[in-house]
Each structure stands twice: as C-alpha cells, then as structure tokens.
C-alpha cells in the first residue's frame, strides 16, 4: 500500500491552467466515485481551491495508478493531458505525507499561514467521507494532518499578525485603542481597500461609521451600506472632534485634512487619541499630523512596511512549523510502515497462540497429578517460550521489510516461512 499526491498549485501552474482543473463540490462528489475506479486506487480525496487542485490517493502499488489518475483528470475535466502535465507535481510515500501536512498547516499557501486552507481540507475530507472514498489510510492521514495543523497554529506564530494592508491597519488600531468596541470611524472618499478596512473595523465592533465624499450621493450610498451617516466634505473638521479612526482614500491632489484642523480638534477631544489611515495616492492627510501628541498617521507605505515585517515574522515562524510537520511525518510513517505488516503479525500471533493452547491442553490432559500451581507454571513456561521466540521475527517484520514492492515480497516470503495462509502480503 502506498500514498500518492498528484496535483498542481499556484507555484507550479498559472491561473489559466488552474481554472481548467478546478472542481466545485458538486463536481467533486461525482468525480470521487469515478476516481476510485481507476485501477489500483483504493481510497481517494479531491482538494480543489482557487490556488490548487490535488488528488490524494491511497494506492495498491506504484507508479501505475499515478498515470491512471493523470488520465482521469484529463478525461474528467475535458482538458488534454499535455496542457497541464508539465505543471503537475507528484509526491509519494513520506513526501506525500509531508506535502499533505504542509498544505494543511498553510506552509504551502500563497499567503503563508492563512487560515482558510484547513477549513477547505476539512470540507474536502467530509465530502470524500460521505462518498465513502476514504478508508483506514486516508482517515488516519487526514486526522493526523488536522492535529499537525492545529499544533502549528498553537505553537508557532505563523498565523499571527496581519499580512494585508487593510488588516494591518485594524491591528494597529487595536494597539492604540485596545478594543475597537464603540470607536467611531470616519471614511473619507471611497475605494476597495478603504472599504475593506472599514468592514474589518466593523467586524471588530467599531460602531458609528461616518462617510464623507466630494459627491454627497456617493457618501449616502456608502453610509447606507455601513449603516452609518453621510457627511459633506466641509463637515470633516467638525467631525474630527468626535471620531477616533479616520480612513482616507480620495483622489484629491492636496491634503484633505490639515495639521491645523487636527490641532484644533485635539483640544476639544481632551487629547483622546486619533488614528489616521491614509490609503490615498497622492496622500490625503498631512504627514506632519503624526507629530502632534496622541495622533498617529499611517500612509500606504507605512502599512506596507508593517506587512513586510509581519511576513518576515511568519517566514521565521515557518521554520518551527516545518519541524512540527517533520515530527508528524515520522509518527505517521511509523504507523503506516506497520500497517502493511499488521495482518502478518496478527496471523503469526494467533497461530502461535492456537498451537500453544492446543499443545498445552494435550499435555496437561496426560499430567493429571499436577497441582494447580504446577499447571500454571507449565502454562507460563509455554507462553513465555512462544513470546520470546516470536519477539525477533515480529521486530524484523516491523522494521526490516524495506519498502514498496520489496516489502510486499518480503512479507509474502515471511508469511510462507511461517505458513500463514491469506495475508495482505500475498497478492
């Protein structure tokens, strides 16, 4: 038995190729059953996200089923194999296990440490389990990958700290205001990034959103979306007395908010802190405002700098995450190595126990004069003899069988030596 991964991701394939192989969950449900009909494929799972499509399979032997899976993908998606074959990666054995753990731990993601991938894997697993295409091996592999991913998240800082500009702004706001609950937000202008930042703030319980715009109708529209209030641009200086966080993203050529306006507002606010997030180019907020007490100004470059620091931090943490993944791979590989030989071990044990029991019964039947203590001693002798005799062969079975085809042959020879009827080792 072997584990194999066939797939492509954002580093190996351009989006034009990735989109050809993408699956919706309905399509995946259909294809999973067909996938299990590929010769020698025993269990299968299909993971499809916007950054990757992967088939994870437990196969009877290698490498034949890998070709089968490739052809299946081509046929199933109606894409000529030669169009995506150069972009495919194929992992087998421990490499496949490591790959699965790394993907689940978000070490293989485009944005290192992003949390969605684990949910996507869980969803794929749920789908495969529902279709009945997972078994002993993949069940174990998936559960192990969830626990590795959780450990990585718990014990390393890989998921810590924002790696997007709008989220970095929210984190900064939290370092200034602690809780954003009840903080008031002013959005000046409009724009995707600014609106995203406002949404993040709302999700962190910021309330009372005000929107100012050169065209008042646009302000009204946006304000309605955030269930806030619309302002005219002339009302901004007055508004500075009340709000805590200002996000600015206008197309204005000069500064929309000046130092003097803020200075005047600070007095009225009794120095309660003000946080300016300037996402506009050219800038909307006079950078000199940062020099005023209890006032903090971050422009796009500053936020990008924060993101860079956080990305570097995550990269550093990923080294520790890889070590956790390695530990998981070793633990899984040990279990997996023994999996092939478990039938042989069970067979050997039960044969020995049966022999031992039968012989004891025969002998003890003839030795009626023995006291119960003596009988017990004879039984102990027999079972310890059997155990000691079996110890070395079982150890050899667990560790000395090699891998792949060789392993199967070895287990088969082993089974023949001990006369163990039907086992997995014999094909």
């Amino acid at each position: 038995m072997e584990i194999a991964v066939v797939g492509l991701n954002h580093t190996t394939a351009p989006v034009t190729v990735r989109e050809c192989l993408a699956y919706s969950s309905e399509q995946a449900r259909e294809s999973l059953r067909k996938l299990c009909q590929v010769p020698d494929v025993e269990e299968a799972l299909l993971l499809s996200t916007c950054n990757r499509t992967e088939v994870l399979a437990s196969v009877r032997c290698l490498p034949a089923p890998v070709g089968g899976v490739k052809e299946f993908l081509a046929e199933d998606r109606g894409v000529p194999l030669k169009r995506f074959e150069p972009h495919l990666y194929i992992h087998t054995g421990e490499d496949a296990v490591r790959h699965v753990f790394r993907v689940a731990s978000s070490l293989d993601s485009m944005v290192l440490g992003e949390p969605q991938i684990l949910g996507q894997i869980k969803e794929s697993y749920r789908l495969a389990a529902e279709c009945g295409t997972t078994g002993c091996v993949l069940n174990r592999l998936m559960h192990k990958s969830f626990s590795v991913a959780k450990r990585v998240r718990r014990e390393t800082g890989i998921g810590g700290h924002a790696v997007s500009v709008s989220y970095a702004a929210v984190e900064l706001a939290k370092k200034i205001f602690d809780t954003l609950e009840g903080r008031k937000v002013l959005l000046v202008g409009a724009g995707e990034m600014a609106e995203l930042a406002v949404e993040h703030l709302i999700r962190n319980h910021a309330r009372d959103i005000r929107v100012a715009n050169r065209t008042f109708e646009r302000a009204v529209l946006l304000a309605r979306r955030f269930s806030g209030a619309a302002l005219k641009i002339e009302e901004i200086p007055d508004c500075l007395k009340a709000v805590d966080i200002i996000i600015s993203s206008t197309g204005a050529p000069g500064y929309v908010i000046t130092r003097d306006q803020v200075k005047a507002a600070l007095k009225a606010r009794k120095n309660r802190p003000l946080f300016f997030i300037d996402i506009a180019l050219p800038r909307d907020i006079d950078p000199d405002i940062n020099r005023l007490p209890n006032t903090y100004v971050y422009d796009l470059d500053d936020l990008a700098g924060v993101v860079d620091q956080n990305v570097a931090e995550r990269k550093k943490e990923s080294v520790r995450a890889e070590a956790i993944v390695d530990e998981g791979v070793i633990a899984f590989a040990r279990w997996f190595r023994e999996l092939d030989v478990v039938p042989a071990i069970v067979g050997l044990r039960s044969k020995a126990d049966a022999l031992c029991g039968a012989e004891l019964a025969k002998t003890l039947a003839q030795l009626r004069h023995l006291s119960p203590e003596d009988k017990a001693a004879v039984e102990r002798l027999a079972s310890s003899l059997v155990n000691k005799l079996l110890h070395d062969p079982i150890c050899f079975l667990k560790n000395g069988m090699g891998t792949g085809q060789r392993k199967r042959e070895n287990v088969a020879v082993f089974s023949r030596v001990f006369g163990l009827g039907e086992t997995e080792g014999e094909e």
Binding site: K175, I176, D178, T179, P293, N294, D302, V306
Partner: protein, 274 residues
Amino acid sequence: MESALFYIALAGYAAASAGALGFLSARSAVWHKAGHGFFLGALAAQTLHIALAFIRLGHFPASGLRSVLCVAIFTTALVHALFYWRYRVKVLGGFIYPVLFLGMSLAAFASDAPPETPGLLSSPWLIVHVLTVFLGDGAFLLAAFTGAAYLWQEHAIKTKHHGYFFKRLPSLDILDRMGYALVAFGFPMLTIGLATGCVYAQMRWGLFWQWHPKEVWSLVTWLVYAALLHERLAAGWRGRKTAIMAIAGLLALLFTFFGVNLLYSGHHAPFTRL
C-alpha cells in the same frame, strides 16, 4: 521559620522572574502561568513572614533596611497583584518580578537592626503611616514602569519601526488607563501617609511640620503627583505627558526614599541604615 519564609519568598520571586521572562521571550501561556503562580506563592510567603515578625517583635517590622525593603516589596507586590487582577497586563511581570527579586536580594544582605527608639513602631499612627506610604510608593513604582512601557510602545507606533516589544506590549489605551489608575490609587495613599506622619510628629515632637529634608522632599513628590492628576483631570493630559510625569515622580520618590536618608541625617535615617 521566619527566615525560612524570607528565603521562600526570595526564591519565589526568582522563579517568578524566570517564568515572566520566559513568557516575554516565548509568549506562551505556560510560562506566564508558572511565573504568576510563583509570584502569588512568594507574596503569600512574604505576607506570612511579615505577620510572624510583627507577632514576635510586638511592633511593626519596619526597622533597619532589611525589614523596610521587605515591607516595600510586599506593598509593591500587593499593588501589582491588585492591578494585574484588574487589567490583566501579563507582560509587566517580566519587568516587575526581577525588580522585586533584586530588592529581596538586597534585603538578604542588609542588616536587620532593632529600632533605636523602642516602642516607636507600635503606635497605630505610625503603622498606618508606613503602610500607606509604601502602598503609595509601590503604586508609583508600577506607574513609572507602565509609563515607560507606554513611551516605548508609542515610540514604536509613531516611528513605525515595530521592534521586539511592539507585539509583546499591550495597547496604548490600556497602558494609559492603567498608569492613571495606579497614580489615582497611589496619591491618596501617599496623602494619608503624609498626614498620619504629621499627626505622629505632632504627638511626639509637638510640631506638625519641621521642614526636614525628608518632609520637604516628600512634599515635592506629593506635588509632582498632584500636578499630574490635576493636569489629567483639568487639562486632559494623557498619554506621553502623563507617562513622563509618572517617571519624573518616581525619580523624586526614589530620592526621597534613599537619597535624603543617605545625604542628610534625620528621624528617618535609621530605617534605611545598611
């Protein structure tokens, strides 16, 4: 028994420092829990130590540098425990526990001389005086630490160079509120401490106020904190200015506590004699 408790407290603060510094570097909750547990254990041992000494001596154990340091550490730890319970700023342990440990180490080498004026420390006025002054001092020490943390964190945010401590220190808002709450707690304590001191001086020497350097410097310290509170309440000072004031206040306080006793003689000198 008493000296065993002293060393248990000393070891407890050492272990607490290790735990808190471990938390500072690794940021894992296990370190913090261990550090905080050791800290509470050390505080309990020290409380028992002071109580036993009180019973044995029949007066408040605050004569000689050793017992004075013990009382100062005890009150600081007490204030820290109180404010930790309220604000849950875990990272401060990494700065405070080592200071407590250093103080205890200093106390271990200091002499424990009997008071030169027996009976002095059994007056309830004096017990209140010592306890409130040290509770106030403890709060001001912690306020200065909080202020320093605030300045550090604000510097990181203003300059946009987020260093080692940025992620470890809490938000400006918490540091500011906590610093203010510490001063607001310490100030009435100091006020009661000074007032009871005056009352006692009147009872003993017939004068409320003698313009001793100790008294003058105590007044200076008191005025610094009074100014801080006034500006905060009236002019809305917050953040950086209050943080700087809290540190300035601590400098005045340290001079009142150590400097005056070393430079001038007076009725407080025996309490900090080495």
